[in-house]
Subunit: 412 residues, 2 copies
Amino acid sequence: MVTLNEDYLKLPGSYLFSTIAKKVAAYQAEHKDADIIRLGIGDVTQPLPQAVIEALHKAVDEQGSAETFRGYAPDLGYSFLREAMAENDYRQRGCDIADDEIFISDGAKSDSANIQEIFGADCRIAVCDPVYPVYVDTNVMAGRAGDYDKDTETWSRVIYMPCVAENGFVPELPGETPDIIYLCYPNNPTGGAITKEQLQRFVDYANKNGAVIIYDAAYEAYISDPAVPHSIYECDGARTCAIELRSFSKNAGFTGLRLGATVIPRDLKAKTMKGETELHSLWARRHGTKYNGAPYIVQRAGEACYSEEGKKQIREIIDRYMKNAAYLLNGLKEAGYEVYGGVHSPYVWLKTPGNMTSWEFFDMLLDKAQVVGTPGSGFGPHGEHYFRLTAFGSYENSVRAIERIKAMKAVR
Amino acid sequence: MVTLNEDYLKLPGSYLFSTIAKKVAAYQAEHKDADIIRLGIGDVTQPLPQAVIEALHKAVDEQGSAETFRGYAPDLGYSFLREAMAENDYRQRGCDIADDEIFISDGAKSDSANIQEIFGADCRIAVCDPVYPVYVDTNVMAGRAGDYDKDTETWSRVIYMPCVAENGFVPELPGETPDIIYLCYPNNPTGGAITKEQLQRFVDYANKNGAVIIYDAAYEAYISDPAVPHSIYECDGARTCAIELRSFSKNAGFTGLRLGATVIPRDLKAKTMKGETELHSLWARRHGTKYNGAPYIVQRAGEACYSEEGKKQIREIIDRYMKNAAYLLNGLKEAGYEVYGGVHSPYVWLKTPGNMTSWEFFDMLLDKAQVVGTPGSGFGPHGEHYFRLTAFGSYENSVRAIERIKAMKAVR
């Protein structure tokens, strides 16, 4: 008689963004004329850069002719893209990363979900709190998180590192020693950034304790200060303790095109029954066995992001979103909110007024201003009383959202 | 101190096709002028159908304009594609499958690798022998396969169902009762087909024993006989015991574009600590948590496969490959080989001459004829003394391969 993975059933409720989608759909059904402004899910709205569009058309034509048709991609990605990433994202920043230490994938969500598979079932993970839900949920599904406590909304085997206004949204080193540390900077959801010195402390800690850092750099393109590192490999010693996740979603707008990469330096090793084993070889085995490569046309699109035209067009897209972020940040301040993020990140993170819960504020904002955001508590207990708005809407909608929020304040 | 997934380290050697690639590369390095004909890996060579190319260009243009840009896809796939598949692949064949029982993915390899995750760690799997390596390897990586015996080349907890010439490459019902049964028909690697009556026996057996069948229908487009089912849902009772995997790779040539689907009927349930649970909900949770959807442009390409033009062009591609298969089949027979498959399948499966091992024949064929095929033993112990050739080459290369094989025979 077949049995199912009971760890899946431990997950409470549904995925955060599904819950939001259902609430918004219910509201829209009751208020057919409501003009809802969506600043909730972190999806981009700007079209793909022209250089990417051109690369896609060219690659599609290649796939239509027998002479240039390409079938299965190399397991770990086409060398043209791995080389472009290694050169532009790493070597030009002084980071020592080889082409074949980069594994091309269909996006940072998949990678951040799948990476836990190569670790032992008994490993303890540490996560920022609040945190992108995928890191925790995938460890729950693998049986690594222990039991859920409904009252505290925490998992018994997960080590939480609170990120709150008081510590500038950069956690202290964990009190208990974890085996795997998830860090995401610039941070989703708080919009906070980490300095090189702060990150170096984590790298040193990981090397000292034999822990691995999984560093999610999906938002690095939004960094506007040279003191903020674009990659964990800017820190000394990161090659022996860190895996880095890269995305094309939030810079080049690939949320619907799907492309990302995982970097695993060959110096990153762990003791196993077979002696010292490279994590690189385990991830290569996973890719080879469970994945069949990102589409050729999408990898060509990724390559185009590193052309001069591509870089310039991406910069324009990011500047546009950051103009929205600045508008939201200032507008909320003017409306009297306590507000964070929005400088090295497309996310603005506000403290709910009057000690409202995050979901109370969500409901109020939807009802009174027809603006959708994301409740901070959906990202973890220390996200309670916070709320996330994204700069990925249009400028017009960012302006209208602030107008409505200011008006809402007057109504209350 | 971090630990790794020791189950990964249990896997012997590297992935079959990587080993072949290395052997061929070594041969080519030693024989720079060798004109190697590759009939090994099951990759297609014909370009994408024109209807697909047109759909891709159109969708790319949509992604280049703010008005028509699409970001994150719906978790489980766009409804236009789910509906096209449900209608064309199922309802028009009399199979009762709803649109929302189809989950769109980046291909049948990923799905066949990931599907085991939703089952209990103690489930025992049954596989055909020989078998597509991904089914077994992913269960090894999940700790479900037990220990490897080097002498028998089998895993202690896996139930093997021999598929050999004597049983027409359709297995007997398993001797021990499994929880999960992997079946792939038309079969990779043997090229064998299963009749509806034979498949019905497995469906009845699964329903009686509370087992789940994972039915890989990646090659259904090659079926040329109405007695051979295109879907397991043509059998009575399959909705309560079967998951089906679909692919766009071998029909429409999407090996480098990546698109597939998993079908999980809502009637498929298992007992858990939470009572009776739909497998559909677990897979939906997996998709929502670990995956971010197939690219919009690729889903539009998939939709185009169901247009009148698309269907006609796919038929032409398949006819072309089947012409190769028929040539290989007849040519090998003329050369005195005992040969199977190649009728409802692009794979021709031959018995090695003179009781040679599969790898001995691989080496001889590479050395004497510069033809690359796939050793049957790479697919499991009962694949020993068999060898796979694919019809995915060009017609010219199929003809030249047979010429060389005939000449090789004369030389021996």
